[in-house]
């Protein structure tokens, strides 16, 4: 991107303007493009898809009227929320109340800086990429706490406090699970971690050794908790806290929280893909060697599909599980996930001492284990269908 701007300057555009100002302007334009072309539709379509997937799992249809199969539902909802009255409660702390949605939003959006879309497509390949990611996603908790406090509502306050406790606790297992991969890859840069893997599943860090396999599930669970998703959605627990920290919000401010929530789902999936699932790697196809655009597109597609699969899994988990209680959430974190993630870190370190180059047969075995788990899962799905004898309907649309 820098090269592109340099080229424009050399060609005589922006004559007279200081170089730094041009760079800054270019960055803002790029951010706007990413925001409006990628993130907004992504969060919107994710919200629509979540509602559809949820609905089908609950024997319903879901939104299917706005646009083909309802895919434009998010636009309709956005317009509706824009036109709604923006209510700030009289006794609320007005400044913090208005600021909170943006803090939450910034926290999630900053993560896109280090999330690659392909081998070349990345906003900034920071050499501390993963650390940066862990840091900026924690900003969300500040926003939620602000929202909970400034609303001057007891439900909001309870939600905010729950959220703070939850996110801070789950940073630890998430961080340790990430650390496992950092050990293996030997770098903090997101592109560096991806380059340490390969296109084949047995080259992924997921199957590197049994510890990384466990670390993946620890990471995913902790990330769900950090994203306030069911079964860890206690900060906004609808049946307990009315709507938690968003109780007093309305209109577009309300939507910003959900924008962040759905966008955050993609961040969770993307980080999982970077760390464990081989990122944008595609097999070396000779025909693509001299077609960089096609190759880049393919890489992006591979990355996106992998990341989005975990978005789907998060929706699916949400449709399945009940919510844990706040003290159980803490005991799950401190009694189960933190010790297990330490085991993963120490185990991986030991593994690297014994086999510094990795152990190919074990990777293949772990990959086979993954296949076996999938096969077992399909068997159980078949059993459910046979047992309940429902009317089958295999089309994805209705």
């Amino acid at each position: 991107m820098r090269q592109f701007v340099d080229q424009l300057i050399q060609n005589g555009y922006f004559a007279g303007a200081p170089k730094e100002l041009v760079y800054a302007g270019a960055m803002i334009v790029a951010a706007l493009v990413v925001l409006s072309v990628f993130v907004a539709p992504l969060a919107g379509v994710t919200s629509w898809l979540e509602r559809r997937v949820w609905a089908r799992m609950q024997s319903r249809v879901g939104p299917n009227r706005v646009g083909p199969q309802g895919i434009l539902q998010w636009l309709a909802d956005g317009i509706k929320n824009l036109l709604k009255e923006d209510i700030i409660p009289a006794s609320a702390d007005k400044f913090l109340f208005s600021l909170a949605p943006y803090v939450v939003f910034v926290g999630f959006l900053s993560a896109f800086v280090v999330i690659p879309f392909g081998r070349e497509l990345i906003v900034a390949d920071l050499n501390i990429g993963i650390l940066y990611l862990l840091a900026v996603t924690s900003v969300v908790v500040v926003g939620i706490l602000m929202a909970g406090w400034s609303s001057n509502n007891k439900w909001s306050l309870l939600g905010g406090m729950r959220s703070a406790a939850q996110i801070v606790s789950y940073e630890i297992p998430a961080g340790l699970a990430v650390l496992t991969i950092v050990f293996v890859a030997g770098t903090l840069s997101t592109q560096g971690i991806i380059k340490g893997q390969g296109w084949a599943p047995w080259d992924w860090f997921l199957f590197y050794n049994p510890f990384t396999f466990v670390a993946f599930f620890l990471y995913f669970t902790a990330a769900l908790a950090e994203g306030n998703r069911t079964p860890f959605d206690i900060p906004e627990a609808e049946s307990e806290l009315v709507a938690g920290y968003v109780t007093e919000y309305s209109g577009m401010r309300f939507l910003f929280f959900f924008f962040a929530e759905w966008g955050n789902l993609y961040v969770i999936g993307a980080v999982a893909t970077i760390l464990f699932l081989g990122g944008w790697h595609i097999p070396a196809i000779p025909a693509l060697a001299d077609q960089p655009i096609l190759k880049g597109g393919l890489q992006f597609a591979v990355f996106f599909v992998k990341a989005y699969f975990w978005v789907f899994v998060a929706m699916w988990v949400r449709a399945t599980l009940p919510r844990v209680r706040v003290d159980q959430l803490m005991s799950l974190c401190w009694k189960y996930m933190v010790p297990l993630s330490f085991v993963c870190v120490v185990g991986t370190a030991a593994w690297m001492l014994i086999w510094p180059q990795g152990n190919r047969p074990v990777s293949m075995a772990m990959f086979l284990l993954g296949v076996v788990i999938l096969a077992m899962f399909s068997k159980r799905v078949g059993y459910q269908i046979r047992h309940a004898r429902p009317v089958l309907y295999l089309r994805p649309y209705i």
Binding site: K154, V242, P322, V324, D327
Partner: protein
């Protein structure tokens, strides 16, 4: 655990936070209100405030005819209207000395047990939803929808049935409806197993309910807990079995009681599982009743101007929310002199304050859901 953070006496001045749960709170099952004093998330006091859904149903009973009061009883508990119908009809029959026809009794049993399934489906479904699992709730409602369709075929209404008449039932059950009910039961019984696998045995769900809000046997007697909530405490007491009415003595069924399988006897999980098992028992009863359905008229001869002799009766039926009692006084006129309805939900409200002390806010929601209180039944 909760006592450890109680701060009185160690020099700190602390105040309890007063939370107003309801009447617009999402999980108060209608319009209930609790004034809750909490210490952080831990509840110190939860005072139920009833009366938001009071509709003077008992007083209306003194103003309408005996026949005309039956549709009003629907509204006493709209999730289990059939039982409210049956309580009043039984009271009127006892006063007037009317013998219900045999086919009428069987029609009543079939309709009541289907209604019990529907009501318990709501109970276990909303239970799941209050704990945070929305999918099981919709699966439960999906099955209830089929029962509603069946009810529509039986009596023409989906919620406020007004199916029972004094002396029998208003509409006969046709053979076609019988087949539909059997088909539904064949489809439904595997679904209950699936429901168990999806929700009842889920570890998170079990952890949320086990050992929460334990009602002991003695407390249950003191607070007059009835129905499934009483049975969950390990007391084998079912009006259908112990004070038999209708044709229940001829039918074979189990009375499921709490076993404390995952925690303590009488905890939320026992109350949940008793309902799940009662659904299966109701399926069994319905199947038997369909097989035994005799021929003959479905309603006895009752004069239009029904004037039972002066007197008073108290009848009890086993409604999904426990022992439903009708105390009806007649002065020999066209109108009842007094109708008093005794419901299980109202007495269950009394124990909430005692049980909720020391629980968390999330547990209070589980407790309310586990008692399966129903706002219209509390206030009437």
């Amino acid at each position: 655990m909760s006592e450890a953070i109680h701060t009185e006496g160690n020099g700190f001045h602390t105040e309890y936070m007063t939370l107003n749960v309801g009447p617009q709170h999402p999980s108060t099952h209608g319009v209930l209100r609790f004034v809750v004093k909490t210490d952080g998330e831990v509840i110190r006091e939860a005072i139920p405030d009833v009366g938001y859904l009071h509709r003077s149903i008992e007083k209306i009973g003194e103003k309408v005819t005996w026949h005309g009061y039956v549709p009003y009883t629907d509204r006493a508990d709209y999730l289990a209207a059939m039982f409210a119908n049956q309580g009043f009809c039984m009271a009127a029959e006892k006063l007037g000395g009317i013998e219900v026809t045999r086919r009428g009794e069987f029609c009543r049993v079939i309709a009541c047990e289907l209604n019990r399934i529907a009501s318990h489906l709501i109970a276990v479904g909303t239970f799941g939803q209050d704990i945070g699992a929305v999918t099981p709730f919709l699966h439960a409602l999906r099955e209830r929808e089929t029962i509603n369709d069946l009810m529509e075929m039986i009596c023409g209404a989906r919620l406020t049935y007004n199916y029972l008449r004094i002396g029998g039932v208003g509409y006969d059950i046709t053979p076609e409806t019988c087949d539909r009910i059997t088909a539904f039961l064949d489809h439904f019984e595997p679904i209950t197993d699936e429901y168990d696998r999806l929700l009842s045995y889920n570890k998170i769900y079990v952890e949320r309910l086990a050992n929460v809000a334990v009602i002991t046997r003695e407390e249950a007697f003191q607070y007059n807990i009835v129905g499934p909530n009483l049975r969950a405490c390990g007391v084998k007491w079912d009006i259908r079995r112990d004070i038999p009415y209708s044709v229940y003595p001829e039918l074979e069924f189990e009375v499921p009681i709490g076993t404390g399988e995952r925690g303590t006897l009488g905890d939320c999980y026992d109350r949940y599982m008793v309902r799940v098992r009662e659904i299966r028992e109701s399926c069994k009863i319905t199947r038997q009743a369909l097989k035994m359905l005799p021929k003959g008229p479905a309603i006895a001869k009752v004069p239009r101007k029904f004037k039972p002799p002066a007197g008073e009766v108290y009848v009890r039926v086993e409604a999904p929310r426990g022992d439903m009692g009708y105390y009806v006084v007649s002065d020999g006129s066209e109108y009842p002199y007094r109708v008093r309805i005794r419901t299980g939900s109202f007495t269950a409200m009394g124990i909430i304050d005692k049980l909720s002390r020391g629980l968390m806010v999330a547990d209070l929601i589980a407790l309310i859901a586990s008692l399966d209180v129903d706002a219209p039944e509390i206030d009437r």
